[in-house]
């Protein structure tokens, strides 16, 4: 598996498009198709900007915090595993009242669904360990898939997503555990 593919898979698990769709579906249900697309485009743009900021700011942030990338990897693994476990719970239970229309693209779609703790911390960690550019590009398929589902997926896809979301969440727990192990085992 190439580095790019490996990172892209991790970000697919961290963003978890199926979970995003399930969490976003209730507010989106009340919106017109055009409003859904607008909100998804806005959410994608904002989330992409946040990921770009994360990968570009990774090294300066770790320097500021006085933390080695290997050590940060352990913390990132803990966050990934925790968020994976969280995503095993029913979707949208923690989102509360959400706005309708384009505002839903900011909250909850961009933050915290597309740009959540797992994805952002993974971006910080991988950008510090590997190439910032490669890391950023690897986030795009996951963000694109999640935004596309949010914009266009019909409600009948809900059962399929309900099966895929916990699977991805469980794999995220495993990926987090793997990250912890590599962080501990590195020099």
């Amino acid at each position: 598996m190439t580095d790019y593919l490996r990172l892209a898979v991790v970000f697919l698990l961290a963003v978890n498009p199926a979970f995003v769709f399930l969490s976003y579906l209730p507010p989106a249900n009340g919106s017109s198709p055009r409003a859904r697309v607008t909100a998804a485009a806005l959410g994608l743009a904002l989330a992409t900007g946040l990921y770009a900021a994360a990968v570009l700011g990774s090294s300066p942030l770790l320097d500021f915090l006085e933390v080695e990338p290997e050590t940060f990897r352990v913390a990132a693994g803990v966050v990934l595993a925790t968020m994976g476990a969280r995503a095993l719970l029913p979707a949208s239970s923690a989102l509360g009242d959400v706005p309708s229309g384009w505002r839903a693209g900011i909250y909850p779609l961009a933050i915290p669904l597309l740009a959540g703790p797992a994805g952002l911390v993974a971006a910080l960690s991988y950008a510090a360990d590997e190439s910032a550019g490669l890391t950023f590009v690897a986030t795009l398929p996951a963000l694109g898939a999640a935004a596309a589902l949010s914009a266009w997926a019909p409600s009948r896809w809900r059962p399929a997503c309900a099966m895929a979301a916990p699977l991805a969440a469980a794999l995220l727990v495993a990926a987090g555990a793997g990250l912890i192990v590599t962080g501990v085992r590195d020099i």
């Binding site: 915090l65 006085e66 933390v67 080695e68 290997e70 050590t71 940060f72 352990v74 913390a75 803990v78 966050v79 989102l95 509360g96 009242d97 959400v98 706005p99 505002r103 839903a104 900011i106 909250y107 909850p108 933050i111 915290p112 703790p117 501990v184 085992r185 590195d186 020099i187």
Partner: protein
């Protein structure tokens, strides 16, 4: 929308604070130059010399706040401390410590046990023969030979080497004690330290007497350490952090190592790097003690530094480990910086009733033991070339 965002950011903020307080506190590695590391090692050597008694033994354990000699003694540690003095001379060419080291050596040669062409350091109290004591005595003689090129102890070195061979098992492992009552090694006793000590001593014997076959038992133990030791001796979190094994592997760098040895060296590098990373996050406060454990004593941190120094040497010679070299240099420098920063300076020593008993030493809970100085000295003196080379490369 704003309420949701505010709540989200609040949760993220709390999470970030929790992570910062637990998993990712700052890693502080005080900067130390090669010159400062050598000066720190000098102070440690001077402490050992001041702590030496006329018979060649050293002050074993000392409690600074009450100025109390806590007594006790350990002949393995005596050999180790003496070795570190010779090692400083070997690494720096500065022979100032030689008289003190020779007094320590004389105390050992006065209580040798000889049999069937081999010799072991028994200690004046008699009793069963400890592998570690003889292995470190041999290592001390080897460092002395590097420092002085004096061949007068070559025969004794061979005799000690033959004792190590007596203690070696067919699979390369070592038994830890030779029982006088049965005139045989005790089959039930192994030591997590002595195997690596004997390994290193054997590899150095091959350096001085290359045609005599000392490399065969050394390779056998290298294979045992690389493949079987952790499981056979029941270490729960392998690999056992064995700095003596790292010394031995570094000495074998140009033999060269086989692939299993290289994989083992890589695992050791990962373990020691992790230990130093964690240590650099520890503070002297109740929260750090609770979450990250207490700061390691110098005898512990020193061994990690020694291992990283050795593995850095290995990575500098063996291209298969070259990718680790830069990280190993960083961690070795960190260990050296932590050690230098924690050493009692002349100014701090002035606050104590007996400043000369405190200056140049490392204390944990107000107590120092002679091997705190031994391992810190060895780590610092061997980190100096790495620090100098790093500085040169940055230019």
């Amino acid at each position: 929308m704003w309420r949701g965002l505010l709540l989200t950011f609040s949760f993220w903020g709390i999470g970030a604070v929790v992570l910062r307080a637990t998993l990712i506190p700052p890693q502080v590695c005080p900067t130390v130059t090669a010159e400062a590391a050598l000066a720190s090692a000098d102070e440690a050597a001077l402490w050992i010399e001041r702590a030496q008694r006329p018979d060649g033994t050293y002050l074993y354990e000392y409690q600074a706040p009450d100025d109390i000699d806590l007594g006790g003694y350990n002949i393995v540690r005596h050999a180790g401390v003496t070795m570190s003095l010779y090692q400083r001379a070997a690494e720096t060419g500065d022979l100032r410590d030689l008289p003190a080291a020779d007094r320590g050596l004389a105390w050992m040669t006065a209580s040798l046990y000889r049999r069937d062409g081999w010799a072991a350091f028994q200690g004046p109290a008699g009793g069963d023969l400890q592998l570690g004591a003889s292995a470190l005595m041999l290592a001390a003689l080897e460092q002395r030979r590097i420092a002085t090129s004096d061949t007068s102890h070559d025969d004794l070195m061979r005799e000690l080497g033959r004792f190590l061979i007596v203690m070696q098992q067919p699979g390369g492992a070592f038994l830890a004690s030779w029982r006088l009552a049965t005139a045989q090694p005790d089959p039930a006793l192994r030591s997590k330290y002595a195997t690596g000590e004997a390994f290193w001593a054997l590899t150095l014997l091959h350096r001085f007497f290359p045609g005599e076959g000392w490399d065969r038992p050394a390779r056998a133990v290298a294979r045992y350490l690389s493949l079987y030791r952790d499981e056979a001796e029941g270490f729960d979190f392998p690999p056992w952090a064995d700095q003596w094994a790292a010394y031995g592997l570094a000495e074998m760098a140009s033999w060269p190592l086989d692939e299993d040895n290289v994989a083992y060296a890589r695992r050791l590098a990962e373990r020691f790097g992790f230990l130093v990373r964690v240590e650099s996050q520890r503070r002297q406060d109740w929260w750090s003690n609770l979450v990250h454990g207490r700061q390691a004593r110098a005898a512990g941190l020193g061994t990690w530094g020694e291992a990283l120094d050795s593995l850095h040497h290995l990575a500098s010679v063996d291209p298969r480990l070259a990718p680790l070299r830069e990280k190993l240099a960083e961690r070795a420098a960190c260990a050296a910086g932590l050690l230098a920063g924690r050493q009692v300076t002349e100014a701090r020593a002035a606050d104590y009733g007996s400043p000369e008993s405190v200056r140049g030493a490392w204390f944990t809970g107000g107590i120092t033991r002679m091997d705190d100085q031994q391992h810190a000295l060895s780590a610092l003196v061997r980190a100096a070339p790495i620090l100098a080379a790093t500085k040169e490369e940055r230019r």
